[in-house]
Amino acid sequence: MTLPTVPPPPPSSTAEPPVVRHVEIAISYILRVGVILSLSLIILGIAITHVRHPEFRTETMPLEAASKVAPIFPYTTADTLNYMEHFRGRGFVVAGILVLIFIPVASTIASIFAYARLKDRAFVLISVGILLVLLVGFVIGHLQTPTHRGPPPPPTTEP
């Protein structure tokens, strides 16, 4: 490749206008709020699980069995809410994870508005594109849901 080259710019020429910092501050704020919310739900969920299952503290089992003690858990948003209503720890953990999954979506939405304010059309379009691809991904994921598993049983039937 014989592309023309350019030297790196001097540091003094790169001061960012304050409005660009606003994009960064907005996104980092969303990330922080999301993390705190997600973290709280997950901690609460783990605590509830171990309070409801005192045997998890005493009952020893082979290593392969330890990760399989809670094989039934919600994997749709409706089930997650149902589990939370019944105050099941795994419902709260999954809700925390759903918040975690939503954080990048929220920061992408924030960047659409932030770049629109900067009148930066290219980056508004790119951000909108990302959002659309994510939505397509969620829809595909939903369509691909294996039907043979069937819905998880209602939480009340479990100990």
Binding site: P4, T5, T14, T58, G96, I126, G137, I140
Partner: protein, 297 residues
């Protein structure tokens, strides 16, 4: 049985490993998925699908936990991150669709090759940051160039971004691998960003922010598949959050060279383990006889 433990100790062990993965993940910009998958599937005997589910959550948590700090400190190059996110998200969706058709052992081989490739890219000859870079009209038009303050050396460093089109192609491939393997594409993102001539610390910060979107696309699909098992994922997410916070503080105190060496070592170990798993004759892939000897070497 070699090991017996209570579910509570399982939770605690998973937490400790995740703490470690989160710290390294945020330092190295790799999300920590490549650490969590082998730990869970080989050391803790978790079903490989749940291990992938936990690993993608690990990437999400590392990204969310560290990117906030990196973006605020102006370490991450947001414009590069957002541009490449588009390619990587499309790739992740492609990978998620292919997932139903890809056999497990092929996945291990792909994973191992991805790691070995990254390690190779990282030990290549170092680039002089003051050297000239190829002109990139796309990078100019999108104003991708940036600067940051390196508190380790006390320097303010400006850099020009280049080869943005190659970056887009590489990140599309990275996205596909992410969708297939739950690795968040960090191990591809790092060498890609280095190829685009971002300084190493900017690479890891940018990669961390970028990974969130890739992982989200994949995580949505895994969640719908029922691969996000809260009993396993809960302590992992918690540990990774704590680790990522530690990582964003450590990055200012550690020399880039040290970070890079740790990175290459981890990649090589993982690559060997994964390739071994991919080439081991089948049995039940989750309970191979080889994994017992790995627990107790």
């Amino acid at each position: 049985m070699l090991y017996s433990l209570t579910p509570l100790s399982f939770t605690l062990i998973a937490f400790v490993f995740a703490l470690f993965a989160g710290t390294l993940g945020s330092l190295l910009g790799i999300g920590g998925g490549i650490i969590m998958t082998p730990v869970l599937s080989q050391l803790l005997q978790v079903d490989i699908r749940y291990a992938f589910g936990a690993s993608i959550v690990c990437v999400l948590a590392t990204s969310a936990g560290s990117a906030g700090a990196y973006v605020r400190q102006h370490m991450a190059n947001l414009r590069v991150a957002i541009l490449l996110q588009l390619a990587t998200a499309v790739g992740a969706v492609t990978g998620g669709v292919l997932l139903s058709f890809a056999p497990k052992r092929t996945l291990f081989v792909l994973f191992g090759l991805a790691m070995a490739f990254t390690a190779f890219m990282m030990v290549r000859k170092r680039i002089n940051p003051r050297a000239t870079v190829p002109l990139d009209p796309l990078a100019d038009r999108l104003h991708l160039h940036g600067h940051y303050h390196d508190t380790d050396t006390g320097q303010h460093i400006a850099y020009r971004v280049t080869r943005s089109k190659i970056g887009l192609v590489l990140m599309y491939i990275g996205g596909i691998l992410s969708g297939l393997l739950g690795i968040g594409a960090g191990s591809i993102a790092m060498p890609t960003l280095a190829t685009m001539r971002l300084p190493f610390k900017v690479c890891s910060a940018t990669s961390n922010y970028m990974l969130g979107v890739t992982a989200t696309a994949t995580a949505g699909i895994y969640f719908a598949h029922g691969w996000i098992n809260p009993f396993i994922v809960g302590p992992v997410a918690l540990g990774v959050f704590c680790g990522a916070t530690i990582g964003t503080r450590l990055v200012h105190r550690i020399h880039t060279k040290v970070i890079r060496i740790i990175f290459v070592i981890i990649l090589l170990i993982t690559a060997i383990q994964m390739l071994k798993k991919g080439f081991t004759p089948p049995d039940n892939p989750t309970t191979q006889p080889t994994s017992a000897s790995e627990v107790h070497p």
